[in-house]
Subunit: 298 residues, 3 copies
Amino acid sequence: MESFTLEQLAKLIGGTPLGSFDQKISHLQDSRACDSSSVCYVKEKKFIDTLSQDAGAVITTKDLAAHITSTENFIIVDDPYLAYAKASKVFSAAYNEENKKVETKFGDNVKIGQNSVINPNCVIGNNVLIHDNVSIYSCTHIGDNSIIHSGTVIGSDGFGYAPTGDGWHKIEHLGGVKIGKNVEIGASTAVDRGALGNTVIEDGVKIDNKVHIAHNTIIGENTAIAGMSGTAGSVRIGKNCQIAGQVGIIGHIEIADNVTVMAKTLVTKSLKEAGVYSGVMPIQKHKDSLKFIAKIKK
Amino acid sequence: MESFTLEQLAKLIGGTPLGSFDQKISHLQDSRACDSSSVCYVKEKKFIDTLSQDAGAVITTKDLAAHITSTENFIIVDDPYLAYAKASKVFSAAYNEENKKVETKFGDNVKIGQNSVINPNCVIGNNVLIHDNVSIYSCTHIGDNSIIHSGTVIGSDGFGYAPTGDGWHKIEHLGGVKIGKNVEIGASTAVDRGALGNTVIEDGVKIDNKVHIAHNTIIGENTAIAGMSGTAGSVRIGKNCQIAGQVGIIGHIEIADNVTVMAKTLVTKSLKEAGVYSGVMPIQKHKDSLKFIAKIKK
Amino acid sequence: MESFTLEQLAKLIGGTPLGSFDQKISHLQDSRACDSSSVCYVKEKKFIDTLSQDAGAVITTKDLAAHITSTENFIIVDDPYLAYAKASKVFSAAYNEENKKVETKFGDNVKIGQNSVINPNCVIGNNVLIHDNVSIYSCTHIGDNSIIHSGTVIGSDGFGYAPTGDGWHKIEHLGGVKIGKNVEIGASTAVDRGALGNTVIEDGVKIDNKVHIAHNTIIGENTAIAGMSGTAGSVRIGKNCQIAGQVGIIGHIEIADNVTVMAKTLVTKSLKEAGVYSGVMPIQKHKDSLKFIAKIKK
């Protein structure tokens, strides 16, 4: 695996190295999981609390670096999120190269329909059934007995960009997708790969058609998600939940075990207690709706 | 077609046979349509009213069986829905075998794009146009002059599982999809097959992109459904309706002829009268929305 | 290119010619852009203000024709929109023939995944990356450095039909899709072609998974649209906007530059001022939602 010195990497992403300029860095990782041969980024003070004690180096601002005691190796930048986007590009070449080199492993009794594409560096378990016209990107693991319906896409890049004065800077997605056993995913659903680390769908999860699972979402065992629902990035859903159709879940939200969210509700805050939640305007004759809307606006 | 005795089937799904143990059963059917060589299930008392008078046998509880007079053949179980799920698995082997054996029939002047997959045991009418990368499962009928756009999936399994103490038990979908004449279905839409019986799209229906039509939905003639709308299972929409974009329709709802549902409305009850319906929060400057939400919560 | 006389075309669409019966007409165009060898339609008085001064002929009613002074060539009909639908069919044969004849042009360093279909008469810029199972219809332009993820469909017909007493009359879509440079489009997204003229996605736009961009929508530079959002036809979104997930935008709406629309909001009116907009019912415990709904209905 290609590696960079702290000094080389700082140059590539337009930052200033601090500490051991010769420190070898071979991966970009999430700040909670960063190991001694990797770099991560910290863009706000709150992320220092959960920062790995073992990080090889940290991309951050001068101010934030003053609060980080677990390492002395930094790349100092004005905008850590943009610097992270640039670093993701630096490490993506090696990531893509590695993916091309590793053959996909197939378990016993795997059935794959027509025109489905399974890219290299995947692991497909025993008795997996993949229907027609399915697209599976590299770094996808699918557990035993799972079923993927037609038109579904697993492992596409998450929707992540750093804002710049001149448009959006793409964040290369260097994670994967980990799907457990006895999972079923419906038709025309999309599951994005993780930015760093994996998007995770645990054992026994059932996902309907046209669902959107964003990067780094984690869905707990035996949770069911009905048609046209979607999560934004880094959502965490507990076990045995029932998410009805057309539900939306805002980024970084956590949902406890045994939560039911009724159809079309937008989940805008973490749901820490089991129970049934909803939030939808009632359907009425349109003229009655108009009266109600006029009242709201007063 | 493979058949089972009442006794054999009872054993396979973990129930107790009652009546003629040698009764031959070759199909699993909906309780309203069950014929003398088939079995159906009854999970609630209300379904006894519409139970076929000709059912070969009924999977149900001991209590419910006491109210059924049209047959003396039962498989007695604690959980009829779970037993039905198990029975669907029993009958799916023959169903799948039959589907593989029957060649798809194509009418005159059918045009099929690149990389579209049409599985066996379908019927494609005259002058049908199927664009690229379309996925059509077995048991799909498409009427004359209909058009299917790219990326669309017809006939995927519905989202049906029986709950168990240990996750979800898949219901095998043994029905099909029946699409009428002069129908147009947009890009990346999904139409699920029926669980028992068909999902039906009648003549002249127009469906936009990214629509989700769940199992056993019936859509009446000349109804139009705009982008990103979806139905849950067993919805029945009348003729000449206009369903705008991002509408959701809860399972088992009936919508009369000539109903218009405005964009993003959730239809939570049957609409028995023609007319225009809506139910959506008005868009406002976000600070005004926040004030309104604060008021609701008081 | 095949052309028709005013008299021939009038006969084909069931109207009465007025003016120079021998006027040659070779295209059907939008009323604002119609040139001297083309025909357009005017269905309401308000469209006369923006009618091209150079139109070869106009399909309209007798009453509206009396207000149009820039041409003397008309096809007089009772229902201009239906007549336009019929005219779109007349011109579609030549349009489709032309599309088949022109080879797609590929820039340098274009990467195309497996089972992606690129129809003729497209232009694909330099360094474009198209993933697997993508469907691209004719008349699609993709600018340099743009990325299209798996399962996405570009150029499908818009959802346009003229109502008749006997169902819907399809409007053939004779435009295309113009995608700028540095655009990224996620997985399972659909971008419809223009009815007349193009659907336009300007440079630097980022579109997430499962988004629906309807015919003749124009999206300004560097605007980002998150998952499962959609536009209806002829929407115009400004530059540097942020449209969150599951947002809907009603047809013909205009959104100014630098507008943010929060998740799941339905945009029912033009947003002429930069700022943040929202309109969503808050999520609550379901029993609290029920109380609120009961209050609304009183």
